[in-house]
Symmetry: none
Subunit: 189 residues, 4 copies
DNA sequence: AATGAATGAGAATTCATTCAT
DNA sequence: CATGAATGAATTCTCATTCAT
């Protein structure tokens, strides 16, 4: 693993443990097992690691969705697979998601988040588009806007499961079921 | 206004202006017009002000919703009023919301956020319950769970309008319209 | 108990617990159960409590010695009683002794310590003088100087028992025995 | 000279000048000619320098005694040389001794002082042992215990000369003479 | 490229002291 | 006399950043 990747991986872990505010560059380099000065060879600051982390998250999301959502399956199944995929990635990156998100809002270049998320938004939009042309979802739907709504809805639900509540498999199943019904009704013609 | 309230008010303002990372305690006390040491009489650190801020936000949400959502109105109108209320408060507190949210995920007890949000969740749940008993929304809905989904959905949509994009009134209207249709379909019988 | 006494008592306890350096006036007033401002009605600073504490120690020393050292007893017995008395008081005030001592050396008015200790030095000197006139101790002894030597010797021995070593009754007895033999030889004709 | 040594040396000097209470870390780093932050690379606090200082004092004591006390000389001469050595070092480190001592009693582990002093106690004990085998001192003496008594006695006497009284060479000589006689009688067969 | 000790500006924190009640 | 909230000057302490090796 090259040093840059080591830094990104270590940052994710440390941000998870301590949060952005309390994370020091010295924590990151310790975890990455590199020298203090080496960090600056790759990133100018703590926050500038964020985009790289965000890219990791988006990469995972795309990978999971492409691997698991069967476009030819019935809508209900597709949605279920989509929800599972997003829950999985959100669970894996736990609070990093919200931290990265907050990190961006701090750095003032919130639009960078948009840019990085674009490939995933596009994927979701095309997914909706396909279903629209197959008349499985409402025709009035604006695929691009709704993609964002859907993602926001699923991510928030996942966060509520993984962050807030003490984790409980039973609850997760119930929350997912409620979410799926909600989604289906929202989308179907 | 007592000193504690002054600190919370000043913190909100400074966090809005500078973000958490760049906010110094000296900024807060200056805005609050109190002495540096006085801060520590009420809060042990910058981050520990977060819960108090969260309470303010929830208070505003409740106030706005109670004032503007007419329970006897048709569902569509109620939802529209609800969305407007949440968009307004989210807009008012802009990035503070996400910062507070991120602050919590750091500050040990994410469950505190739940506790603070509970009154608002309850309000939304009872709103759904009323509509359920009037057969305006699906009978299969679990009011408590759905309340969280609805809030998550609306807040995320609002954040997408106020944080990401350079603000654009036209876009806001379109986003709201899409969101409302989405919501109506998700809830109605 | 009047407030001044309360302050002195509380100071002794807190100094014992935390040492002078780490003791805050707020610790003292908390222990004394008085208000912060009240302290300044009686003492201008933390260190100015020292003389009052020293006086307490000397008072105890004099009381113990006068009560327990029988002037008409044989030298060996007198010395044994003297050692017991000083060990007891040193034990009671543990490290406060050395802290007060250090406190004085800080305040630059080390001579105040001398002044406060004078009554006890005098008592020891007169004790030696009596024994000299009864030919129980060397005639070449300068009572005043030797009083200081004797006190220094016994106090140091006591401190070594009570401060350094994990306390051990067996060891204390042996240390006392060695000390007594040492003292007897040093003093006897 | 490495930075750690610089800090210890500077601390000794500043403690001598100002006492522990009034010494600021900024005074130490200024004297040591290092940056403020560098201090914290080696010591977590002002008081944690104490053990290192104590080691210096013990080192000096050992050096002086080994250089000046002639083991083959008559007892009286040996004791005189011992007293001179201890007086010299005590004088050199003046109030630092008592401050370090007080610092220890605060800093949790008084036993650390014992550990640091052990080499010097051992030296004194072996010195007594040699004289015992040459029948210059009492056979009943426990060398280890008596070493501590002797050191305590001499140090206290030295402190009384250097700390309490306004220094007076005449008095010093008289005090030393009285002390020597006292010691001789205490030790000799 | 990599290192990590050293730096020092700047922020956090403390706590003796005051003073209106 | 007594109180204790408020003060802010004085210190401690942190940590991003540099740079000689």
């Amino acid at each position: 693993m090259d040093k840059k990747t080591k830094i990104v991986q270590a940052s994710i872990e440390v941000f998870k443990e301590k949060g952005i505010e309390k994370t020091k560059i010295s924590d990151i380099v310790k975890k990455a097992e590199i020298a203090q000065g080496t960090f600056y060879l790759y990133f100018p600051s703590k926050l500038s690691v964020m985009p790289a982390i965000a890219e990791q998250i988006v990469l995972q999301l795309i990978k999971k969705v492409e691997a698991n959502v069967a476009l030819e399956a019935p809508l209900q199944e597709q949605l279920s697979q989509l929800v599972d995929a997003i829950f999985q990635v959100t669970g894996e990156f736990r609070d990093v998601t919200v931290l990265v998100y907050a990190g961006f809002s701090t750095t003032e270049n919130m639009s960078e988040w948009e840019t990085i998320y674009t490939p995933f938004y596009d994927l979701l939009a095309s997914l909706l588009e396909t279903n629209k042309s197959r008349h499985l979802i409402r025709e009035t739907i604006d695929a691009a806007r709704t993609a964002k709504l859907v993602l926001g809805l699923i991510e928030t639900a996942a966060e509520q499961v993984y962050l807030y509540d003490a984790y409980d498999a039973q609850k997760e199943a119930e929350q997912k079921a409620e979410l799926l019904t909600f989604l289906e009704h929202a989308l179907r013609p």
